[in-house]
């Protein structure tokens, strides 16, 4: 009972020890603060003579609009096309990025040749390719998937290459010594060794892709979350617009969480020994 009194002095204020619930409680506190800021913002907007027309951005109207959208199925209807585009773009980025990253990580000359051009291309905003994408692809979907691929491929390439370079050369030697063919080296050594690096790259790529998605869907298409935002703006339905923003945040968070779980599952590095 007297433990609290003699617990080591903390450098700053500390919350009571909540054990396993600590993470959830902290997250709840953070989200409550965010909600509070949103609510205060809503009040300020409503009170301002210049901006009161946008008062529906406030949590009350937005969340009731969100509830309606979820109940009517509209929320899913606008999310699926976006998920499809991000998924296809990400898949293309993985199919291109992982082999490319492995090649760059393994072959020093290739790394030196590609380094400058790739860093150059990486710094170009994916959206700058939009006019070219629109010309090159017959469908809007094709163009959007292309833009997402262009955005997502770099994190996958660089994370994969960095992972390959960190592979212990002794592992490859041991495998060769036991009679491993190049195919075996790839499947039993290289890919398991860099699985976490690849997934970390995919997680970064997903973040970028999800960000690029919305502006990419402003153009042409008549479905998806970006289109829904644009549509809500044009119809002055700010509650719907704010609700769509919430959906984008929730889905993005969920996808990132899945990636994080996958990283934890595949991670073979032990931080503590039992």
């Amino acid at each position: 009972m007297s433990d609290a009194a003699i617990s080591p002095a903390a450098s700053g204020p500390r919350l009571p020890n909540l054990g396993r619930l600590a993470g959830l409680v902290h997250a709840a506190i953070g989200m409550s603060l965010l909600y509070l800021v949103w609510w205060i913002g809503g009040r300020l907007v409503a009170a301002s003579p210049d901006m009161f027309a946008f008062a529906d951005f406030a949590p009350g109207p937005a969340l009731s609009a969100l509830w309606n959208m979820v109940q009517s199925g509209e929320a899913w209807a606008m999310t699926w096309p976006s998920l499809y585009r991000v998924g296809a773009g990400l898949l293309a980025a993985i199919v291109i990025g992982v082999p490319l990253g492995i090649a760059i990580g393994r072959v020093a000359v290739l790394r030196q040749i590609t380094n400058v051009p790739f860093q150059f291309l990486r710094m170009i905003s994916p959206l700058s390719w939009m006019p070219i994408a629109v010309m090159a692809y017959d469908t809007w979907d094709g163009a959007i998937i292309f833009l997402i691929t262009v955005a997502a491929v770099w994190p996958v390439v660089f994370a994969t290459a960095a992972g390959v370079r960190r592979i212990d050369p002794a592992w490859l030697k041991v495998a060769r010594n036991l009679g491993a063919k190049p195919f075996h080296l790839l499947t039993t050594v290289i890919l398991p060794a860099i699985a976490v690096d690849i997934l970390t790259g995919i997680r970064l790529a997903l973040g970028v892709a999800w960000i690029v998605l919305v502006p990419a869907e402003y153009l042409g298409v008549t479905s998806g979350l970006g289109y829904a935002i644009n549509d809500a703006r044009d119809t002055l339905d700010y509650a719907r617009l704010a609700a769509t923003v919430v959906i984008i945040g929730v889905i993005g968070f969920g996808l990132d969480f899945l990636c994080q779980q996958a990283v934890q599952r595949l991670n073979w590095v032990r931080t503590d020994t039992p």
Binding site: K173, V174, P274
Partner: protein, 296 residues
């Protein structure tokens, strides 16, 4: 490519310097086994355009024999082992194991390294079955892996992740992994040097016992004369810069005497140390005159 090999020619001073039984490979071949199991014919090697690391290395190993290659650090003994294992290709000369020339790595001749280098994302079982898996013999693994784990006394550890194991246990797993594909020959590159003295001594004895029980041919690289005396039937001493065969001597110890406590062991270690010192002195005298001059 083929060169004539004669150990005797390479080591004229050693006959005079040492009472050790320095013999030629020809004289040790028994009639029953006319052809030696491992034949190393005139191996020379250099890295890039650097100075030669190994020069005209010739020796033979009988089937089931434990041979120690002794030399100072940097004498090229580890390079020599890599060449024997087919992990690199010699500049000149050839290695035969059994009747096959060594042209690349194979699970017929398997090397064990200083560090166990187990794959941390796999269990002990999965690590041990690798050689069989690469050979397309995965169905055999179910029987074979428990056998070799039994051999290295790790039967209870098959399902464990290798990161749960101690350094000595990990090196045992590496040994089991090397033994699983039933190689003809095991090449050991100072595999115990990273272990504590107690674990090292027990593994040295254990590896010799296992090799003898399986009739496995063993070539062991070491700079530790004691290790050679504990494990090997015969020692080949190498000079350094470039590595050449300087002496080839039998280690005449009964298995009962292979313990640091016995007088015979101490006498044999002393003899090998003396021989080692002479070989080291010889290479210093012939190969680094400039350094000696500047040191004065």
């Amino acid at each position: 490519m083929r060169q004539t090999c004669s150990i005797a020619k390479a080591t004229p001073p050693m006959n005079a310097l040492s009472p050790a039984p320095v013999t030629t490979p020809q004289s040790r071949a028994t009639p029953a086994e006319a052809r030696p199991f491992v034949r190393v014919d005139g191996i020379s090697h250099r890295y890039g355009r650097g100075a030669p690391v190994l020069e005209d290395i010739c020796f033979n190993v009988r089937r089931g024999e434990v041979l120690a290659l002794i030399g100072r650090s940097g004498c090229g003994k580890s390079t020599l082992l890599h060449l024997l294992a087919g992990l690199s290709t010699p500049g000149a000369g050839q290695v035969h194991i059994g009747d096959r020339p060594v042209t690349g790595p194979s699970n017929r001749w398997v090397m064990m390294f200083q560090s166990p280098s187990l794959f941390p994302w796999m269990t002990v079982f999965q690590n041990v079955e690798l050689g069989l898996r690469f050979d397309g013999r995965r169905t055999q693994a179910k029987h074979r892996v428990p056998q070799v784990l039994e051999l290295v006394d790790l039967s209870a550890f098959g399902d464990r992740n290798v990161q749960d194991l101690s350094g000595g246990q990990q090196q045992r797993v590496a040994l089991a992994r090397s033994l699983a594909p039933e190689p003809d020959i095991l090449l050991l590159d100072e595999p115990f040097s990273a272990l504590d003295a107690f674990t090292r001594r027990s593994l040295q004895g254990e590896v010799r016992r296992i090799a003898k029980s399986l009739g496995l041919t063993l070539i062991l690289v070491t700079h530790d004369v004691g290790e050679a005396a504990l494990m090997a039937d015969r020692a080949v001493l190498l000079t350094s810069g470039p590595g050449r065969v300087a002496a080839d001597t039998d280690i005449a110890l009964d298995d009962d005497d292979r313990s640091e406590a016995t007088r015979a062991f101490r006498a044999e270690t002393a003899r090998l140390s003396q021989l080692y010192a002479e070989v080291a002195g010889m290479s210093a005298a012939t190969d680094t005159p400039r350094q000696k001059g500047s040191a004065r």
